[in-house]
Symmetry: C2
Subunit: 244 residues, 2 copies
Amino acid sequence: MPENRLLPGGGPLYIQVRDRVVARIVNGHWLPGNALPSEQQLAAEFGVSQGTLRKALDTLVTENLLLRQQGKGTFVATHTPHRELFHFFHLVSADGMRELPTTSRVLGIELRRATTTENTRLKLSRSASVIHIRRLRELSGKPLIIEDISVPARLFRGLETNGDAPPNALYALYEEVYGVTIRRAVEHLRAVIATAEETKLLNLPSGTPLIEIDRLGEALDGTPVELRLSRCNTQSHTYRSEIE
Amino acid sequence: MPENRLLPGGGPLYIQVRDRVVARIVNGHWLPGNALPSEQQLAAEFGVSQGTLRKALDTLVTENLLLRQQGKGTFVATHTPHRELFHFFHLVSADGMRELPTTSRVLGIELRRATTTENTRLKLSRSASVIHIRRLRELSGKPLIIEDISVPARLFRGLETNGDAPPNALYALYEEVYGVTIRRAVEHLRAVIATAEETKLLNLPSGTPLIEIDRLGEALDGTPVELRLSRCNTQSHTYRSEIE
DNA sequence: AAGTGGTCTAGACCACCAA
DNA sequence: TGGTGGTCTAGACCACTTA
């Protein structure tokens, strides 16, 4: 009969340690940007060797949940605008250069009842509300993307009336102000024809094809927290995807 | 003055070991599907501990260059149709299910001089030749993708006259017959309007938007070896991309 | 039962950073 | 100078596969 050394939980030690570390991040015991205790301290606290503790942290570092800096410490990852751009923004200019969307003009922001799609995609309760943002993003001075963003009102109370227009880097705002960290996202791309309104906003001839990106963003604990539909002009920019 | 234990090469031991393992795979010392010697043997051969040897192999396993099977051994990864599908084929049906392209009808295959784009993208010498394949791929019985594929003739001698039409899983063929393993690829997506020919082949109304996928595939040593332009009907299928 | 990869330890030393 | 992460070892034992 196989017996485990640490009775409750089972499985490899480093997995158990990893899960306990994740739990502390998810429940806010360690906040984004905070430094973790040193590896020696953590190893002692969890009752494992440094090697095992390191193996646990290794997995979290490759998942971008932790950030290590030699000589300084281990930190909970944060959504800097830079990371948000390189990790979550995939439009690159045709010459291969990466460009940051400099400005985004908010076309509308409102609190309203969730549509049925929003309800099912975001796994909301019946009659829940969402905050919806519609905005126009520019690259190299030209409007290229129209975004429709929906987030559960319950998690982002007051976002629609916060005085200032929401910033370009939304994920940093989610994290800093509302304590919601986007951990991963799944995107589905389709080709569509720009609507009349879109041709006007993006300053395009009618009939121009766009790429529609349907993104569902998940929080640390795996719950879906953001639904984003982007319609992008890909005349001078392309969506870049690497297969390793 | 910092001194390294193994004089030539410098850097961490496990990196040096990793590079030596990669070299053996690249130069064909260990072929795809082959088993490597056991970790103990390799550690002894390289003069490092099992821990260090394992750390070296770990990096290659996460890069999909090696495959470990507990109790059996460590193997050089191969391009099975399954892997090719899950790793390199990103179109999924609208209901989220994954589907394999069952058949591909070859529309044309020829040996010809490289165009200027092919020349620069594939880094060919002047006046080099390529083999070009044009084919139609079906999903759930309907034609959905038109692919234009170009590979250097030098590496794939005779591909255009090999009797049988090239199979669906091209990467497996590249690997088994020509000893060329595709390690990674970069894709750039744009929205386009189907040409008259495409609307006919894909059985679509004129003016239908398609997604164009421009893929450049790299071999084990990093040289570009395949240029592939896919034009996809995304009415019932979407291109899926995960951001972790 | 023998051979393989997978986990874990205790301890050593190195490279980097900040005060 | 002291603390942090990064590397490396030698050896033990576990889990899985094959015969």
